[in-house]
């Protein structure tokens, strides 16, 4: 019982999935909502990936959609064009979906390495500018490559991603990011973010740590790209424009940069918000933009205020945890006090 209280995520995470799954089965959530939840999952993975660079290492990548594009196109190339997974038996499909996803991740990671190596050595905003440029270059290359549909887009990608797989990958990403942050590697990156010169003189090989974080981040973005491709089944180069990159930045900074929980919530809430505001028609994005400015102005630490979910058990950074087990504890203390009062 004690172990369960300490490791509440073992129950909570499957429970969340089961609840969504049951709601879907009983037609309470229609396909449209399920699709939005799946896209929110993709956005969560992307935002967590961006958090490794912008939040943990303090480098500014503003063209992360480029890595997502690489992942999406490489994985679609793998599953549709090279292996045509659509005609396979389901079990084999799953295997090829996972292989395609890993291929997408590796493809993006290779680009991450090529971009990160030269630029992360430079100080200042160069990474920001080069990543912005990279995203647009990738998009232009896709636009003129006939194999992947050029400017018409790539259609007919097999629908291999499911709510289940997205849920699995979101969970893995959350734990990978948590493990990264709570380790010597992550602390090295946090040191670079806080003071690069001091980090260097504390024995931290700053270029290496930065490139490691950047490549890991690109890999995760590639995974998100594959999820995206196999959810929507259609890719168009203009989807991965600079606007897409700014979306992720917005999720990250509105949620709380540097915080894993903030990234998750930011991505989820802000993916859902425009859909919830849909009844306002053309005004919804006006309100969305206005809200964004208000959040940045009045909540500098993000909506979630730099706190972390207790189930992440993050030790680095002196974080205040909030979560289900805390709620239980607080309640039990209150009841204890109440009991004392009664006995007196």
């Amino acid at each position: 019982m004690n172990w369960l209280r300490k490791n509440s995520e073992v129950i909570i995470l499957p429970l969340i999935y089961v609840v969504i799954f049951l709601l879907q089965k009983n037609k309470i959530l229609n396909n449209y909502i399920i699709q939005i939840i799946m896209l929110a999952g993709v956005n969560i993975i992307m935002t967590l990936s961006l958090n490794l660079v912008n939040g943990m290492t303090g480098q500014n990548s503003i063209g992360h959609a480029g890595f997502m594009a690489v992942g999406a196109y490489v994985s679609a190339l793998f599953s549709k064009i090279i292996f045509s997974a659509a005609t396979m038996p389901p079990a084999l499909q799953t295997v090829f979906f996972l292989l395609a996803t890993i291929a997408g991740g590796i493809g993006a990671a290779i680009f991450g390495f090529l971009i990160g190596m030269p630029t992360l050595r430079l100080k200042g905003d160069y990474l920001a500018i080069v990543t912005l440029g990279f995203g647009e270059v990738i998009r232009s290359i896709i636009r003129i490559t006939p194999t992947v549909g050029a400017a018409r887009g790539l259609t007919g990608i097999p629908k291999l991603a499911s709510l289940f797989w997205i849920f699995v990958f979101v969970t893995i990403t959350i734990y990978v990011c948590r493990n990264y942050m709570d380790s010597a590697y992550g602390r090295g990156c946090l040191a670079i973010r806080d003071n690069e010169v001091a980090a260097d003189t504390m024995g931290i090989n700053t270029s290496k740590y930065k490139v490691q974080a950047f490549v890991t981040s690109a890999f995760i973005a590639g995974i998100a790209g594959s999820m995206y491709a196999h959810t929507l089944r259609y890719l168009h180069p203009d989807v991965f424009s600079y606007t897409k990159s700014t979306d992720f930045l917005v999720y990250l900074y509105a949620g709380g940069v540097g915080s894993i929980s903030g990234s998750i919530l930011g991505a989820f809430v802000l993916t859902a918000l425009p859909e919830i505001l849909r009844f306002m028609n053309e005004w919804r994005l006006v309100i969305y933009g206005g809200l964004l400015v208000v959040i940045i102005l009045f909540r500098p630490v993000g909506m979630f205020g730099g706190k972390e979910f207790a189930f992440l058990k993050l030790k680095t950074g002196g974080i205040r945890h909030i979560g289900f087990s805390n709620l239980f504890q607080r309640k039990s203390k209150k009841t204890a006090v109440a009991n004392e009062e009664i006995s007196q």
Partner: protein, 300 residues
């Protein structure tokens, strides 16, 4: 050869539009070290301002050069004041926070303005056709066909940029701007009203963006609420190529971008947009501070 010169003129004209826009990026970056992601939207506002002034007061007439210039300057000042307002509301409270927060705020402003313009009924989502401000005259120099309006746009842009350079180098407010871009805190201790300087910077930047919007729309007469985004990106790249923070660099970068883009798209139009980023990345790898920029050194 004739084709080359013709393309060069087209390139210089597009370049002058980029240069005018890039100046705004570079000035704002020089003084508050912020990348104003909403700068391209000032271009959009400026061209809509021209559109509305013309359709309200001068509907269906051909404007004389004097009136055209007046209309452009009027919309430039309207946009300038909007720029000052945006800075006061959305960026000023963020001045002492990490640079990236003001960049995110700018993204919010950009989302807000674009969609606000799309949402209000008298602008709406449909593209508008920009009125012809001046009657174009085509003439020949030898075998080369040239358009008078294009030449006028290039010359006007150069005049405007020279005036700006004069303002920055010779007037008090220009000196205060240069002081503030060196060290904001020290210059405020020396009696420079930093708020006023930043407002002036935004006024000039947004005004120039509006002028470049009018010039752009004169050539590509389709107005949409998102027209500023792509142009803004390219102008930002131009500013970075030239060395962000340096006005001469922005002008140089703008012209380089314009010429390269026209030359490449005459060969393969799909490539033009991507190539400008390739140029950017190459320049950044060879000379990270840009063509005219000074390297940043951190003191230990």
């Amino acid at each position: 050869m004739e084709k080359f010169i013709q393309l060069l003129v087209y390139g210089l004209q597009l370049g002058s539009i980029y240069a005018l826009l890039a100046i705004g990026y570079t000035m704002v970056f020089g003084i508050i070290r912020m990348i104003n992601m909403a700068h391209g939207d000032f271009l959009m506002m400026g061209s809509y301002a021209v559109f509305f002034i013309v359709s309200l007061f001068f509907a269906d007439q051909m404007l004389g050069p004097a009136i055209a210039l007046f209309v452009i300057l009027a919309s430039a000042s309207i946009t300038g004041f909007i720029g000052v307002g945006v800075e006061r509301i959305a960026y000023k409270p963020l001045r002492n926070r990490p640079k990236i927060s003001s960049m995110i705020a700018a993204i919010g402003v950009s989302l807000f303005t674009q969609n606000f313009f799309r949402a209000i009924p008298f602008i709406g989502p449909n593209p508008r056709t920009f009125p012809k401000l001046l009657k174009d005259v085509l003439f020949f120099v030898g075998p080369i066909q040239l358009s008078l309006v294009r030449i006028v746009v290039i010359i006007l842009s150069i005049v405007i940029m020279s005036v700006l350079y004069f303002i920055i180098m010779k007037t008090t407010i220009g000196m205060e701007m240069r002081a503030a871009s060196c060290d904001k805190d020290a210059s405020s201790l020396m009696g420079v009203n930093v708020n006023r300087v930043i407002s002036a910077t935004f006024f000039i930047g947004a005004g120039l963006a509006a002028i470049s919007g009018a010039f752009y729309a004169n050539n590509y007469p389709v107005l949409t609420v998102t027209m500023g985004a792509t142009l803004g990106n390219k102008a930002f790249i131009a500013a970075v190529i030239g060395g962000i923070g340096d006005i001469r660099g922005a002008v140089l970068g703008g012209f380089i971008m314009g010429v390269i883009e026209i030359m490449i798209s005459s060969v393969y139009s799909e490539l033009a947009y991507g190539i400008s980023f390739v140029v950017l990345i190459i320049i950044l790898l060879l000379k990270p501070e840009g063509l005219l920029g000074k390297p940043m050194i951190e003191k230990v």
